[in-house]
Structures are given as C-alpha cells and as structure tokens.
C-alpha cells in the first residue's frame, strides 16, 4: 500500500466518505482512515437503522387502523427483535455500499485509528501516511449522557441510541430524556412496539428548535397516542437500579416520580476530538469544543481541514456531506459553491414527520423581520384525506415585500420528502410566487406547499 496520498481523510462517515469520493472524482489520490465500518454513525448506528425501525413503527400504526380501510387483520403483535435485525441488515447493506463506492472511486481505505502528526501526516498503528495536499478531519460525534444528574450511560438501564438500536425486545416502560430528533424518533418507535413511553424535555416544548406550531402539533399527536409528554421538565434526581430507574421530574412547579425499566438518554452529543493529535498539530478548538475552522473549513493548522459534526453545528449528516464536497473542490483548486447554513433542512422522522428549513416564526419575530405567514392544513388536502394522514400542516414564512421564503415548516406524512421543494426554492432564491407558478400534480400532499404559498399571498384556493 502506498504511504503517500494527495488527501487523507480521518473518518469514513457521511462527511468523510462523500469528501473522499469527490476528491477522487477531481483526480486526487485519496485515503480514508476508518476504525470501524464505513458509513460512520449515520449508516451504522444513526440515521439509517432508525429509519428502518421507524418504518416498522409506521406499519404497526397503520395496521391498528386497518379495519377502517376495509382490511381485517388478526391481533397485531410486534417484535422489536425482528425489527432490530431487519434494521441491522439495512445498515450493513448501506455500509457495504460505502465500501463498494470506495473501491469504485479507487479510494484507499485504511483500517484503524488514525492520529494526526505535524507535516500533514497521519499515523495508523505503526504506519505513517503522508498527505501532499491536505488532511481532512471528519471524526464525527458520539452520544453522551448527562452524568451531572446521575444519568451516566450504563448500557443496561441507562442507555443511549447506540444500545437502543440493538435491543432484543422493547422495554415495558421507558423514559426518554431529550425531545430533539433522536428522542422524538425513539419515543415513536417504542410507543409503536408497545412500551409505555414518557418523553422528558428540559426546554419549554418538545422539538425546541422547530417552529412552535410544529411542537404543538406533535405534543397533541403524541399525547393522543398515549405518550406522556413532559416539556419544561427537569430531572432532579435519578435512582438507577439494576432493573429499574426512578426519576424525580419537576415540571410546572410539581415534582413527580417516574418509574421506568430503562432510560434512553437522547440529549447531547460529544465530538470526537480526543486522542487524534489535534493539539500536537496546532489545531485549536472553539469554546464549545468543536474544531475551529475558517470560511474555507480550514483549521488553525494550514493544510488541515475539518468537516461534519466536528466542525460545528448543525450536526447533521447532509451538512457534513456538503462540507466534504466543498472542501474537496477547494483543495482541487475549484471554486466551490458556498454553503448557506440557513439552507440546511432539518428533519425528524417521527410520525407525523417534522421537516423545516430557514427561520421559525419566533426567530423571524425576534429578528424583527417584516413577514407574512401562509399556512395550509393537511386536513384540507385531498390526498392526505385519502391516505388518512391528515395530521399536520405546511407553514411558510415569507418576507412581506419581496416574497422571499424566510422559513418553511411541514408537519405531516412524508414531510421529509416535501421539504425539498422549499430547499430548492431557498437555495435558488425562488419566492412564494415561483412556488405557486410551478404546477403541482393533483392529488398530492405537495399541493399543500403551493397552497401555503398562496395563503401567504392572500389567495389560497382550496380552503
């Protein structure tokens, strides 16, 4: 194996492997150092297997109301273990897909833990590899518990998503701490697999980064499904037993005790900055612990770049992938399209799904923008009525003067797919008028996007 490359990438997750492919496409000899499976957290213990489990959850839900659709099924029984094994196969298939892409693009994969050395070198085991153009750090992040409140992950009764993804069966009761995307998704999954779920969020509402109306809709939806939702709730005390955890939770001035077989810690992630030789190479961190990068994603050490979670929020796979592409193009001497971080869509794959891009209404208000809101509920959408998925809405916040789409929020089935119309619009500076002018097929849920755009213009048709 050659010991020198144009580019060496530390980490084969969605940022690193996409960066490697783009580097290879641009004619750079490229190596990826990966200590585990290709695809990183996303493919192996993140995005991909959870989506497989969420689909199982979705099917379970759908079967409960099958009779309404004229389909008789016997008792609906769920088996988390079977669903988990299927999710593993999906994850493995995707990881092998990443392996294949490395081969196809002639990217060298170096198995092992890489440590950076000065002079654009990376040490893996006893071997030292040299990069002539750049070393790219894409080591990602991992789950972390909240030891401060006595909830250190013990992998049996206090678990993270890492363990939840490998459970053989769903716990009878589970408390999910943190109602961001991970907490929302596992609450959804375990609820569908028969667990009694309590969802605890410290901030005043679940999905705290989303638009307040999205949080409201999801709170109602989850409560209807029997999930206990506690927002603005603080875990005061945790009594971690061998088979049981008792939490003392304070919300709304009242303290209650919650007994659960398991606690899933879905709050907080830590970036993987330890023991990779950052300080030795002169690579500095920000106050929040991310690697400090400039506008070109270069670290404080020339020739060393950082992409993905480790380079700062939002910690999303698609943001990391795009950074990988941009860095590859810059290293190859091309003019890369600048990343507009406001245009990174955010999706939570719970049911109904929540997807958004740009500003929430609260943020628009906070920034004192002159805006108009257009909204269209799926209860008024023919396609949604047909599938019985009428929960949710499309909400578009537009600039009053020019119709610029300041923010868009979708709660509903397939929101994750519908958000991209608005992502294309925002990236290309289409206004609500262009959204309306694009002819939307009938009947589709996407019509609600066009109707929300029209509503913001004061001329909604279907409501």
């Amino acid at each position: 194996m050659a010991n020198s490359f144009d580019v060496i990438i530390l980490g084969g997750g969605p940022a690193g492997y996409v960066c490697a492919i783009r580097c290879a496409q641009l004619g750079l000899s490229t190596a990826v150092v990966e200590r585990d499976k290709m695809g990183g957290v996303c493919v192996n213990i993140g995005c991909i297997p959870t989506k497989a489990l969420l689909h199982s959850a979705h099917l379970a839900h759908a079967l409960h109301s099958a009779a309404d659709f004229g389909i008789t099924v016997g008792d609906v029984k769920t088996d988390y273990g079977v669903a988990m094994k299927r999710s593993r196969r999906v994850a493995d298939t995707n990881s092998k897909g990443a392996d294949f892409l490395m081969k196809k693009n002639k990217v060298t994969v170096i198995k092992g833990t890489g440590v950076l050395q000065p002079g654009k070198k990376v040490k893996v085991g006893n071997d030292v590899y040299t990069a002539s153009k750049a070393v790219i750090i894409a080591t990602g992040s991992r789950v972390k518990g909240i030891p401060q409140i006595g909830l250190e992950i013990n992998k049996t009764t206090v678990i993270s998503s890492d363990e939840a993804l490998f459970l053989e069966k769903a716990p009878a009761t589970i408390a999910v701490v943190g109602a961001g995307a991970v907490g929302m998704e596992f609450a959804d999954i375990f609820n569908a697999f028969g667990s009694k779920v309590t969802l605890i969020e410290a901030l005043p509402r679940i999905l705290p980064l989303e638009d307040a109306e999205a949080s409201d809709t999801m709170t109602k939806s989850y409560k209807k499904r029997g999930i206990d939702v506690l927002a603005g709730a603080k875990v005061k005390k945790a009594d971690v037993g061998k088979n049981k955890v008792t939490l003392e939770v304070e919300s709304g001035g009242q303290t209650q005790k919650i007994d659960a077989d398991m606690v899933l810690m879905a709050a907080g992630r830590a970036v993987n900055t330890e023991n990779i030789g950052l300080a030795e190479c002169g690579i500095k961190l920000t106050d929040r612990g991310f690697i400090q990068v400039d506008g070109n994603l270069q670290t404080t050490a020339p020739g060393y770049y950082a992409i993905g979670d480790i380079a700062g929020p939002p910690m999303l796979a698609h943001k990391g992938s795009r950074e990988g592409v941009v860095v590859a193009e810059k290293i190859a001497g091309h003019k890369a399209h600048a990343i507009k971080y406001d245009n990174v869509p955010s999706v939570t794959y719970c049911h109904p799904e929540v997807a958004s891009i740009g500003l929430s209404e609260d943020k628009a208000k906070e920034q004192k923008l002159d805006y108009v809101v257009g909204k269209f509920p799926f209860s008024a959408n023919g396609r949604a009525r047909g599938t019985g998925e009428t929960e949710g809405f499309v909400k578009i916040i537009r600039d009053k003067k020019y119709g610029e789409i300041l923010g868009a929020h979708i709660v509903g089935a397939n929101a994750s797919e519908m958000i991209h119309e608005l992502a294309v619009a925002r990236e290309n500076e289409y206004t609500v008028e262009e959204i309306d002018l694009a002819i939307h097929a009938h009947p589709t849920m996407s019509e609600a996007v066009a109707q929300a755009a029209l509503d913001s213009l004061g001329r909604v048709i279907d409501m």
Binding site: K401, Y402, G403, E404, N428, E429, T431, E434
Partner: protein
C-alpha cells in the same frame, strides 16, 4: 501578484479621465471600495475606487495627467512587492477598455482567490440575464439594472446579496454629506442620489424611447406687452444698443430656471445634479451644424448684457473661435428658429442637460380676448424634457412661470 488599478469608465461616454487627486499614496493600505483617487470625466469629478485589498504599491499616473480608459494608473499588492514595467500608465496588454461599460473594468494579473474582483457582469445568452427571482424583484423595485450588477452566484448569477448592495448609492459618485460641491472651475451644484422611483422611471422610459426619454410641452404666449416693452426699451437705449426677442426669451428662461431648480439639472447615471447657477446654452447654427455657446449666470445679467454676449458668442461660433469654456457647462438650452418662420418645433435635448426650449416665430393672429376677437402677437414655446429628471407637472410649472414673465415683462424685474 499585484492587481492593476485601471482608469475605469466612470460614465457611459467616458473615454479618458484626468487624475485630479490621489486620495491614497504609495504604501497606504487599501480595501476594496476605498476611494483611491478623484478622476475628472467628461461630465464630472468622480471617485476611482479600489477593486482589491492590499497595499497601494505603485502609482504610475500623476495628478493632473489624463489617460484613456483602461490604462493602468496604479498597482495594489503585498507590502514590498515589486511590479514590472510600471512605467507611465501604458495600457495593460490584453486589458479591456470598455468604452461604454459603467461596470468595473479592473483587470487583475493572476489574482489570488481572496483578491479576485467581482465576477464580470452576468453572461447574457440571447439577452437572458442570469438572476434569481428574488434578485429580480429587488432590482425591479429598486430600479437597478441587472446588467450592471456583478453576480456572485453560480456562473455569475445575480443573487439577493448582489442587488442588496446596490441599494446604497455606489461608492463612485458618492456625494459629500451635505451634497454640495463645486466643479473644477468653481460652479456650485448639489448632487442628489437618484431615489428608487427616479431610478425606475429612468429605466422604464429609456427602454421606451432611446437613451433620453423626451416628452414635449407646448404653450402659446401672448407677446404684445413684451413687444411693447422691447420697443420702449430700444427707443430709450437709442445708440447704446438694442435688445431682441431672443434676449428677452433667454432672460425670462433663466429667471424661470432660477425659480424652478428641478428643470436646471443634469441626469448623471445614478444621481441628478441640480445646479445652483443658471447657465443657458444658446443654439447657434453654423456652416455644417450647430453649437451651443453658453451665457453664464444669465439670470443675473441684464437683457442688454445678454444681448451683447449672445452676439459676441454667435459671431465667435460662426468663425469657430469658441473656447471650450464658452460652449460647455450649460444647465439648460434655448433653440430659436423664429427667424426661419417656424411656428413651432421640438428640439432635441443636449445631454446631460434635461431640458431645451424650442422658440418659434412671433405670429400675429386672431385670438379671443375678453370675449372679442383681437389680432395679437403670439409666440409658441415647446419645452423638451428628460423624463428621468423632469415630470410633466414639473415642466408645466416651469413653463407657466416663463409664460407669466413674458406676458408681463415687469415680473422679470421683481
């Protein structure tokens, strides 16, 4: 590598520029957008701004020198950097000299990415301008010509931030805080940046009828009292001279302009220059064309003085002996074809002025006066207006004042 600073075309018709004054000196640090020098163009003194960051490492054109558009005037680069062949403002090999392009035309030599100047104006394929819908809306609303905007999006696409920057008056032509200035020869004026509505009017009307959107206003003036006054004055003057109807019209026009500054103005790309003095251009037919000598401060001069000056200037014009200072700087013009028995006509504006008065012949004709038909001497005046500067009502108000003065010559001495 150093970036060249070239003499830019600061107005659409500018072919050369005189470097009036360097605002920065060799060794000074400059940032993109900083004023480097004041440059006198064919129309005004404007600012030459930096298109790159760095140190002003060499100045090759000295104050007072005039160089064609596109020629190198200085270099911006790293401190201590040397430039080759930085002689005397010779045209950079291969550099472009856009005679009529108001867009920045600096041509960097192999610029580092950080110092790359704005991308050239967006490529237009069959007239198509690459611009986002949002940028188009902002541009339309603000009266920004997208063709003059350097796009920063993919392939030079004009995006929001490119036109948002244009909301402010550009660094070039930025007037001082109080808006008041003097030209090189001391004429006071005030530059008022084009308001958004004026920009939109300018843009729309230009696309409608050529570069200067003319419109015409005609009025008929009763000249009985002016004729009587003229006879009386001439009688009194005796051998001391005579005043003509033309002198009366010029004087009245100048006085009316002094009262209607809105018509005593130049259209200047992105602002309107309202002159605080009245210099009336007087179209004079010469052997193979015409020229417009200028009667300066005509509003302050007596009709006799105007008449004498007009006579001298017309004579010099026919003998082609006019000095440039005698035929430039008019703030408004008058064209008189009365002596050719033309009842009424329209004259073409002499840019950058925004108005010209076409004077016909005085004709005796029957008019209704106090319910009776009377034969009176009448004069038809037609004002051509540049609609970018003068609106219908503005022009009409000016003409009304002019008509009142001519119909009641005593008003002129008020």
């Amino acid at each position: 590598m150093a970036t060249t600073v070239v003499m830019e075309a600061l107005s659409p018709t500018m072919e050369e520029g005189r470097l009036v004054k360097w605002s920065k000196k060799e060794g000074d640090q400059v940032k993109t957008g900083d004023t480097l020098a004041e440059v006198e163009t064919d129309k005004a003194v404007m600012e030459l701004v930096a298109r790159a960051d760095g140190s002003l490492i060499k100045v090759v054109v000295q104050e007072g020198q005039t160089v064609p558009v596109g020629n190198v005037v200085a270099y911006i680069g790293a401190v201590g950097e040397k430039v080759d062949g930085a002689g005397s403002g010779k045209r950079e090999a291969g550099s472009v000299a856009p005679a009529a392009a108001p867009a920045p035309a600096s041509k960097p030599i192999d610029p580092p990415p950080a110092a790359r100047p704005p991308t050239p104006p967006p490529p237009t394929e069959a007239g198509r301008i690459k611009a986002s819908p949002l940028a188009r809306k902002i541009a339309q609303d603000s009266g920004i010509d997208l063709r003059s905007v350097a796009g920063s999006g993919p392939g030079g696409r004009v995006v929001k931030k490119d036109v948002e920057g244009s909301h402010q008056p550009s660094a070039i032509n930025r007037p001082p805080a109080d808006g008041r200035r003097l030209t090189a020869d001391g004429s006071p004026y005030e530059d008022v940046p084009l308001t958004q509505i004026r920009k939109t009017i300018a843009k729309r009307l230009v696309t409608s009828i050529g570069p200067i959107p003319h419109f015409f206003l005609t009025t008929e003036v009763d000249m009985e009292r002016a004729a009587e006054a003229r006879e009386a004055i001439n009688k009194q003057l005796g051998d001391h001279g005579k005043i003509s109807f033309n002198d009366i019209v010029i004087k009245a026009t100048a006085l009316a302009l002094a009262k209607h500054r809105a018509c005593n103005a130049w259209f200047q790309d992105d602002h309107i220059r309202y002159w605080n003095e009245v210099h009336v251009g007087m179209a004079v037919a010469v052997e193979d064309g015409l020229i417009t000598p200028v009667i300066r401060n005509a509003d302050l001069k007596s009709m006799l003085a105007i008449g004498q000056e007009a006579k001298v200037l017309a004579g010099k014009a026919r003998e082609r002996k006019l000095q440039p200072s005698e035929y430039t700087g008019a703030t408004f013009s008058v064209s008189n074809l009365g002596m050719f028995d033309i009842d009424q006509f329209t004259a073409v504006i002499n840019p950058p002025e925004s108005g010209i008065l076409a004077v016909g012949s005085i004709v005796s004709k029957p008019v209704a006066e106090d319910g009776k038909v009377e034969i009176r001497r009448r004069l038809r005046l037609t004002m051509s207006c540049d609609h970018r500067v003068i609106d219908g009502a503005t022009g009409a108000a000016f003409l009304k004042t002019l008509k009142q003065m001519l119909e009641n010559p005593l008003a002129m001495v008020l």
